[in-house]
Assembly symmetry: C2
Homo-oligomer: 320 residues x 2
């Protein structure tokens, strides 16, 4: 059998077909057109699925189900997307609406949870039962996997790690709270911190790397400046790693997963990020005796397709 | 059948017998004498168990197992207490040592986890699958129960909620980290905050309540001053509730348990504490739409005996 995964984002809808051996055999994406009515967007998602099935040389009968990952809060049991602010969906009956256009079971799930499931079943956390996957992007997505299943708490909303506290009474977060971890450790936050440092230190390599146009700063710029031995770049990265480490230490102290998987663009820094991060996290653990194993920090393996792959695996929880 | 629970503390060893209907039918306590060799302390624990069995008119054959709750970090599988700083136990083979004196299976578990299990199986969280119990005392103990079993993570150390971050680079905690939640929201922290406020405001009701002897301030003093309408008391309690609320909001945002049970002396304030706390927590949640249920905040029901009762239930996980 095959499984379809759809990653519904604010910019694009990406969809793919995953085989029984957990390989992504086909994928395709279209613009979301997020200001349209949800009925049109969902019709496009169904249309995209039909196209994928055809291009893969399959029929609907070969597909076991469709899994949809979306930002926001889902009512899984009833297939309703309760709330997703970046696509302005409120109480949208996703499953029912999809099934008007395609006769397949439909599962829905938060996109960060899908990414965590993908890493657990087919990626960097394949070898452990319990893992937490964080995605450093516009915000910080978080997904908890316990015993190879998404753990979403009694109301389906667990894992919003980006909105735990880092700085008491700190920076205002997009969620309306103050001091959230994602306001300090997301890619957006790193870009903001890099820009502020460049403004304060106009002679830094950061400024040279973007030809003085601070709007060109991205989440890689401070790391690039650091690699050039630039003092400002080193300072920004060091501080960012401390912000990241505090939040990761919180996850460990609270939940003790066997692996913490870090995804998103920044994770491409690999060991450049992980090596100092592991050290900073270790300094922040409650108990550090060598005879007790600690969570391993690794980078994501599935990468950009984690949303599709994870969504395609929603129906496989507890089966593999 | 009957089950023995032992709560091994820095000051006293408390033990009790729990019946099949989860009632505590006998209890007894002795001083720990914590500076003695562990062999002597464990012999006393076994002796106490024999006495309890006799006084309850039972024999060893009526007892299914002994459960021991201890501060610190346990290796459950091998019955070893790896580390407990307040009784200076390191790598102590608890189960094996107990069995030199009493022929019964022995389970060991962190004491905060025992309290959480007790509340889940026989107390305030009896009606839900997933709960988190926090105990506000010298520190903040935390125990996670998922699906009616203690969740302790892959290395057995999950739930150390007191050592998650509240204030970035904040007050030094007894664990060596800075800014831990327990450094702001434990009973010890509240006493420290009350004392500091009394020093700054010598005319406050706090000072009158302790006849000017600030060493007499306890975790109830600020609440008592507040009840007298004292401005300083109100301020201390308001600030303390915010500290408490931030940490509880973290638990909810991350794990979304159905109930959060608050134990320890401060919980005796009941609705005086819970009412403003619920409001402050709600303001700090990531998603507050009324159509999604949120964790209920309640106070502990088992109280002082939670450690004994929870330890006595260690072998019942997954069975009731």
């Amino acid at each position: 059998m095959y499984y379809i995964g759809i990653d519904l984002g604010g910019t694009n809808i990406a969809a793919g077909i995953v085989s029984d051996s957990l390989q992504l055999i086909a994928k395709k994406s279209i613009p979301t057109g997020k200001d349209r009515d949800y009925t049109e967007i969902i019709e496009d998602m169904a249309q995209l699925s039909h196209e994928l099935i055809k291009e893969a040389g399959l029929t609907t009968e070969d597909i076991e189900y469709i899994g949809i990952g979306s930002p926001g809060v889902c009512d899984r049991e009833n297939g309703i997307l309760l709330y997703a602010n970046n696509i302005n969906f409120n109480d949208v009956p996703m499953a029912k609406e999809m099934q008007k256009h395609i006769s397949l079971p439909v599962f829905i799930e938060n996109d960060a949870n899908c990414a965590a499931l993908g890493e657990s079943l087919a990626g960097a956390a394949k070898d452990v039962s319990d893992s937490v996957t964080i995605t450093l992007g516009t915000g910080i997505g978080g997904g908890i996997v316990i015993n190879k299943r998404i753990f979403s708490g009694f109301n389906g909303m667990a894992g919003e790690i980006g909105h735990t506290l880092l700085v008491f009474d700190g920076e205002l977060c997009t969620c309306g709270k103050r001091g959230c971890w994602e306001a300090y450790a997301s890619a957006t936050a790193l870009i903001r911190q890099t820009r502020a440092a460049a403004e304060e230190n106009p002679n830094s390599a950061i400024n040279r790397l973007v030809d003085g146009n601070l709007n060109l700063i991205n989440a890689k710029t401070a790391f690039d400046a650091m690699r050039l031995g630039d003092h400002t770049g080193i300072k920004v990265v060091d501080q960012y790693i401390i912000y990241l480490a505090e939040g990761i230490a919180n996850i460990i102290v609270f939940l003790q997963p066997e692996k913490i998987v870090i995804g998103g663009g920044i994770s491409k820094e690999g060991e450049t990020l992980l090596k100092p991060l592991r050290k900073a996290v270790k300094e922040r653990l409650y108990y550090k005796k060598e005879d007790v194993p600690q969570a391993k920090l690794v980078t994501a393996e599935i990468g950009n397709d984690a949303g599709i792959v994870g969504a395609a695996m929603l129906g496989l929880q507890g089966k593999i």
